[in-house]
Each structure stands twice: as structure tokens, then as C-alpha cells.
């Protein structure tokens, strides 16, 4: 099972951000609009050799089962990881003064629950499913809003 984002289906309703913030204490997912009408969501790719892990002075970032994970208790809010990330996916949470990014709801998955963003998404733009299911969809070739090169991409442990 993997988490997928389908830009073709996203209506930018904000439900995922709310559900994420509700369960995780802060928003770890972010939907942005490109050209004010094309939703995109960039997320951690869980690099093989993560620069963020290397740069963290307090060893707050670690990799467990392929998932890069920020430990809130150890994070001192120095923003080094924010600068180091080549994809710019780490956000700085001003109010709580810590770095924050999606860790694929590692805790939830261990309990065999689906991530809240996938559960709440009204259109199924965020999906937690088997790869075969996604391949089926892509085979049908229903890319209607292709102008931004929208394609379904997976958020999976590296």
C-alpha cells in the first residue's frame, strides 16, 4: 500500500490539511496552487542519503523503515534542514518553532489505519492503495488537465 496524489482530481478544498493538522498537531501536508488553478503538492521523497539527516545538529531527523522522520522533542528549530532539503519540502512551523514535513503517518500505518488525508479527501485525489489500482487508472489515460504535466505520483518510503 502506498500513498498517491492525483493532481487531476484535486479541488483544493483544504480538507487534507485540516485532517492532518487535527491528527498530527500541525499541518504536514501542503497543497499549493500553480497559476492559481492547478493544485500541486510536493512532499518528502525520503532520499537514500538524506541531506537533512546529515545536517541536523541534534540528530532530530532519523530514518526508520525507509521513512525520514523528524522528532519534535529533539528539534530546536534551527532551520538547517529547511535549507538543506534539495526539494524544499520541509516547512518551518512558526508557531511551534519546529520543522515539519510528511512522515507518511508512520504511526498510523503501524496501527493499520489509513492516513487521515487519504480518508478525508472528497474526490480521491489523495489515495492510499495498491500500486495496481493506480496503474489501472493511468492505463485508461484520462489525463485531462495535462498542461501542467500532472501525473499521479507516489509518496513512498525511499
Amino acid at each position: 500500500m502506498e500513498l498517491y496524489f492525483d493532481a487531476d482530481l484535486c479541488i483544493n478544498c483544504g480538507s487534507c490539511e485540516i485532517a492532518c493538522a487535527r491528527e498530527n498537531g500541525r499541518k504536514k501536508i501542503k497543497i499549493e496552487l500553480f497559476d492559481a488553478q492547478f493544485p500541486i503538492s510536493s512532499k518528502c521523497v525520503h532520499c537514500e542519503e538524506s541531506p537533512c539527516i546529515k545536517v541536523c545538529p541534534t540528530e532530530a531527523i532519523e530514518k526508520r523503515n525507509g521513512v525520514v522522520y523528524i522528532n519534535d522533542l529533539l528539534c530546536i528549530g534551527c532551520k538547517s534542514c529547511v535549507l538543506a532539503c534539495p526539494f524544499g519540502v520541509i516547512d518551518f512551523e512558526k508557531r511551534q518553532h519546529i520543522s515539519s514535513k510528511c512522515d507518511l503517518c508512520a504511526g498510523w500505518l503501524e496501527e493499520n489505519k489509513r492516513p487521515p488525508c487519504a480518508e478525508t479527501c472528497p474526490t480521491g485525489a489523495i489515495r492510499y492503495c495498491e500500486r495496481a489500482e493506480i496503474e489501472e487508472i493511468t492505463k485508461k489515460g484520462r489525463r485531462k488537465r495535462e498542461m501542467i504535466g500532472a501525473k499521479i505520483y507516489a509518496w513512498r518510503p525511499g
Binding site: C13, G14, S15, I18, K27, Q37, E119, P122
Partner: protein, 598 residues
């Protein structure tokens, strides 16, 4: 512990579970709910936060010397009874007016109606105007023809409004139709909305030209002879009269009013008319219009013309308040205010957290039942603390006629009570007996009195999730055999298509338009949480880039909108999606405004 619950922030009535220890701790997704399949929008995700909110009212309030003071139930009920009896004696029962809102359950609404008839007043209304009352004459029922889930089978969907932002969860089925069924999506709106992102054909009309656009669509279907003559002849009436009334209007001239190219209107008309399973959807956006009823009538005419009784075709009004369909089913009409009613009202009872803005009638006595103190409370003499959706039992009917049970998960805070209890107590104190032990007894009486609910026993509501009325007759699609009007014929209704919008002038050079994104005042308790999380304001103004440039406003500036009646301060965003001369403000009203930088 997991308790089933229904979101009461809009008329889709999505289901979810409340998880409870001693208090409600959070929610779980109800993944096998027949409508939402677990999905919730931003409002639904946070709905549970209102239950233990610190702003909840916990005791009745009474206004003394301009300030609210806490009181006991005995005191306030004594005052209410005394005032009502006085007013009834002096001015007659007609001077008492009762307004209801969609947060009340069917059972509560029934009790309210019964209480009114015991008082002798016929003035029971819904607090907001109705967007479906004109359907009765056209079709027979004031309701959607199908389940909302049937939208996914359509092959052409005409959408007037912006359901993706107003009632987000319904987008599930619209996009399924688009991607799995290759449906054409035609979106009509005055501005470019997220719904329009997905449109095959987007009709951006001039504000106020809704009826003209629909008239043009109807006209071009008639001109091109794309309708089923047999159906029109056998199953409808007054077609020729309506046809004649728009005879001289050419599509070209009508399209001038809408500001659209006539070929794009004709293209859309062809798509709708040739579809096998067309769906017509409209949302509460049109409720701001002064010519609301004309728009609804023309929508009904269009759907008669393309034969909405076809297998799989559908007509879906997506309404606002949670139980607004229940209000209509129980025979409560939408509010109309005329000057004479305003003056005649001496007592106003308002039940439920309505979002309508209500003016205090002169020299009157106003009682309000609410879950928390809001802007509306200012007009009240007495505020009664009411129970929210998780604190009472009963049933509610969603916009597609689905009846669901809501369950009491926790006790109301402090002295707050459900409307059921409140009405019973007031009636008892006035010497009328509303002798019902529980909601079941009321439901049985509703069944006996309201024909569409007849076959739906309380047990069915409890056991089957998502029962749709009428239970058996027509299955799930209404009017399969014939319409439910008196003569069994669908009726074409005359409508005026001329735009009726406020004229801008020098003092107020812009036209503010709006659409409602929340339908329950409890939203005000969670809106700042939503703003904090998404980092986007929920109340803002979208201004055309050129207009902003001319008035020296930059993206993100805070501005003041000044209308003839009031002023509001909002952050302004510049965009090309709003046409020239228009300012879009969600949850506001249709009016002319001037702007000033703060």
C-alpha cells in the same frame, strides 16, 4: 467508543464517527457511509470541535438594561409565556412569528409546527428564503429527483454555482462522472471557480444574467428542435404558452444580455439536449439574487424540456442548511419579508443556529435558541441555550431526500437543552399538552401526517443507513411514471429573464457578489481554526487586477467595503478570475459597494 454522527454544516449530511471517552476526543471516518464513503470537507473535519467549545451557552440569558444576564429556565419560560399570552390577547395570534432553521431535527420541526398551530399562528417559516419552493408547481415535489450518488452515472452535467467550494463532498460524484463516464461538465458562474477548473464548457455570464442564460439555452434547444415532442405532448403542460412568450427573443439577443458568445451557448445547449442521462445541479449561489424564483423556474423548465424523467437523468438542487429538506417536507415555507409582515410581527421566536441575518421587528419580543452567542443574538430579548448535533436524538433529511438518524453522544453542557425539550416545556407552561415521550412517538405522528414519509418507520431509519423517501413507490428516481402535480403533468412556468441587480453609481462603483460557504452559525466557532491551519482567510475580497490597479490596491492589502448599509474590513486579493467591476466576497451579500484602503 465510536458513535455514529452526521455533519450538520451543510445539506449533504455526510456521516462520521465521534470517538468518545468521557468527552468527545476526535473523529473517525465512516468509510462505508452510502453517500460520503468517509470523505469530509474542512467543516466536517472540525465539526466535533464545537461540541465542547468554551463559547457554548450553558444557561438561559435574559436581556436586562441592554445586557444579557443569566437566568433559570423557570424564569425565562415564565417571561416567554407571559409575553406570548399578552401579545396574543392584544394583537391576535397572527402577530407571533416563528422561524426555524436547518439545525433542528425533523421531530423538532414537527413540534414547532404543532406548537404554532396550538398557539393559533400560521406564521411558521424557514429563516432563509427557499431555493426549491417553485419546483412544486413544475414537478409536484420540492426535492431532488435522484440520490446524489446517481450523479456519477450522468453523461452531461450542467452546474449553476460552485458546489466544489460550497458543498465539497459532492465533487466526488461529479468528478467520477467526468473521469469514469467521460461526462461533459458545463459550468455556469459569474466568476472562474474551482468547479470551473473541471469544466468542458465554462459559461461566464454577467452577474444577474442567470435567467437570461437559461432562457437562451431553452430557446436554442427549441430552435434546433432537439427535444422529445412525444414526451412534451404527453407529460407536460403549458409548453406552448412558455414557448410563445420567448418566441421573439433570439438566442443572439439573449446572449448579448449574458455577455457570452452565442455559439458557446448553443454548443452547451446541444450537449445538454443530446445527452442520454443529463444532470442539472444548482447550488445556493443563486439565493443572493432578487429574481431567485425566476431562475429556479427556468431551471425547472430546462429540465422538463430535456426530459428529466429519463432513466438516470436527474435534477439536483444542492441546498445549504443541514435539514432544509426536512423543513420543506414538513410543509414549512421559505421566509418572505414584506413591509406589512414586518410591522405586524410582535413576537419572534427563532429556533436553531440560523445564518440568516434577521432584523428586529419594531417593538417586538424576540426569543432565540442558539448554541453560542453570535451576531444574531443582539436582537434577542431572551436567548435559550440549545443542544448541538451530537447532543440530541432525531432524524434529519439531506438535500437528496436521505433520512438519517442523529444520535445523542453526550449531554448538552450545563443547562443547555434540545429544542425538543424547550418547545415541550414552553407549550406545557402555556397549558398545551405536547405529550410525547421521545422522538419515536413524534416520528410516528409525522409518518401519519406527511405522505412522503409514510412508509419509513423509525426502525428502518435506525437499521438501514440512508433511506430515501418515498420508500417504495418510485424507487429512487422520482417521476419515473408521471409527475406528482395535480394533473400528473410537468408544468412549464412563465419566467422573466431580465437581470434584476442593484445598479452601481458614483458613490458605490463596484458590485459585490457572493456565495455562501457555510450554513450553520457554529462554523464561526471553527473558522479561525480553519484559517490557522490552511493559512488562508475565510472572509476575503477578490478584485479584478485592473480594478485594483486603478484604485491603488495591491494583493494582500486590507480594505474596507462600504455598502449603503454597513462596512466590513477584509483582506483583498487581486485576480483575473473575477470580471471587471465586480468584487467577490464569500458569505456576504449582493450589493453595490465602494472600497477604501485601510
Amino acid at each position: 467508543m465510536k458513535i455514529k454522527s452526521i455533519c450538520n454544516h451543510c445539506a449533504l449530511n455526510c456521516g462520521f464517527y465521534l470517538s468518545k471517552d468521557r468527552e468527545i476526543k476526535g473523529i473517525d471516518y465512516w468509510t462505508d457511509h452510502p453517500f460520503n464513503e468517509g470523505a469530509l470537507c474542512d467543516k466536517g473535519n472540525l465539526a466535533y470541535r464545537t461540541i465542547h467549545h468554551e463559547k457554548r451557552l450553558t444557561s438561559p440569558l435574559i436581556k436586562r438594561e441592554g445586557k444579557f444576564k443569566e437566568a433559570t429556565w423557570e424564569e425565562v419560560i415564565e417571561v416567554i409565556v407571559r409575553k406570548l399570552s399578552e401579545i396574543k390577547r392584544e394583537y391576535g395570534a397572527n402577530a407571533i412569528r416563528i422561524l426555524t432553521s436547518g439545525t433542528c431535527t425533523n421531530e423538532e420541526l414537527y413540534l414547532i409546527k404543532k406548537f404554532a398551530s396550538l398557539l393559533g399562528t400560521p406564521n411558521v417559516f424557514s429563516a432563509r428564503p427557499s431555493m426549491i419552493s417553485n419546483l412544486k408547481e413544475s414537478f409536484g415535489f420540492k426535492a431532488a429527483t435522484n440520490k446524489l450518488t446517481d450523479i456519477k452515472n450522468s453523461d452531461c452535467i450542467f452546474i449553476l454555482g460552485n458546489p466544489f467550494e460550497q458543498n465539497p463532498v459532492v465533487s466526488k460524484y461529479i468528478l467520477r462522472a467526468k473521469y469514469e463516464n467521460n461526462a461533459n461538465i458545463i459550468v455556469a458562474d459569474a466568476r472562474y471557480t474551482p468547479t470551473a477548473w473541471f469544466a468542458t464548457s465554462f459559461l461566464q455570464y454577467k452577474v444577474g444574467a442567470e435567467a437570461a442564460l437559461l432562457c437562451a439555452l431553452i430557446k436554442s434547444i427549441i430552435d434546433r428542435d432537439l427535444f422529445d415532442h412525444n414526451f412534451i405532448e404527453k407529460n407536460t403542460s403549458d409548453f406552448n404558452a412558455v414557448k410563445k412568450s420567448i418566441e421573439e427573443r433570439s438566442v443572439e439577443r439573449l446572449s448579448k444580455i449574458t455577455g457570452l458568445n452565442h455559439s458557446s451557448i448553443e454548443g452547451a445547449a446541444m450537449m445538454i439536449a443530446t445527452a442520454k442521462r443529463p444532470a442539472i445541479i444548482y447550488t445556493t449561489t443563486i439565493m443572493q439574487l432578487p429574481n431567485l424564483s425566476d431562475v429556479v423556474k427556468s431551471l425547472a423548465n430546462l429540465s422538463l424540456l430535456i426530459n428529466i424523467t429519463k432513466e438516470g437523468a436527474g435534477f439536483y438542487p444542492i441546498q445549504g442548511e443541514a435539514n432544509i429538506q426536512g423543513i420543506h417536507d414538513l410543509g414549512i415555507e421559505g421566509r418572505q419579508t414584506t413591509r406589512s409582515t414586518k410591522e405586524a410581527v410582535k413576537a419572534l421566536l427563532i429556533f436553531g443556529d440560523t445564518v440568516a441575518s434577521i432584523e428586529k421587528p419594531k417593538a417586538s419580543f424576540v426569543v432565540l435558541s442558539q448554541t453560542f452567542l453570535s451576531k444574531t443574538s443582539d436582537i434577542a430579548d431572551i436567548v435559550l441555550p440549545s443542544a448541538c448535533f451530537a447532543e440530541k436524538d432525531g432524524s434529519i433529511t439531506s438535500t437528496d431526500r436521505m433520512i438519517q438518524k442523529i444520535e445523542k453522544a453526550v449531554d448538552p453542557p450545563g443547562h443547555a437543552r434540545s429544542e425538543f425539550w424547550i418547545i415541550k416545556r414552553i407549550a406545557e407552561a402555556m397549558g398545551h399538552d405536547l405529550d410525547y415521550d421521545d422522538v419515536k412517538a413524534v416520528w410516528n405522528e409525522i409518518r401519519a401526517n406527511i405522505p412522503v414519509y409514510r412508509d419509513i418507520t423509525y426502525k428502518k431509519i435506525e437499521e438501514e443507513v440512508g433511506v430515501h423517501w418515498p420508500y417504495k413507490n418510485d424507487g429512487d428516481q422520482l417521476y419515473k411514471k408521471k409527475f406528482k402535480t395535480k394533473d400528473g403533468l410537468g408544468r412549464f412556468q412563465h419566467f422573466a429573464y431580465q437581470p434584476r441587480i442593484p445598479k452601481t453609481d458614483k458613490a458605490h462603483p463596484f458590485l459585490a457578489i457572493t456565495e455562501r460557504r457555510y450554513f450553520n452559525r457554529e462554523y464561526e466557532l471553527i473558522s479561525n481554526m480553519i484559517e490557522n491551519i490552511t493559512e488562508k482567510p475565510t472572509f476575503y475580497a477578490d478584485i479584478n487586477t485592473k480594478d485594483a490597479e486603478n484604485s491603488g490596491i495591491k494583493d494582500g492589502d486590507i480594505i474596507k467595503l462600504i455598502s449603503a448599509k454597513d462596512e466590513v474590513t477584509v483582506p483583498a486579493f487581486t485576480t483575473d478570475f473575477v470580471p471587471h467591476g465586480i468584487i467577490f466576497v464569500p458569505n456576504y451579500k449582493l450589493c453595490t459597494v465602494s472600497i477604501r484602503e485601510v
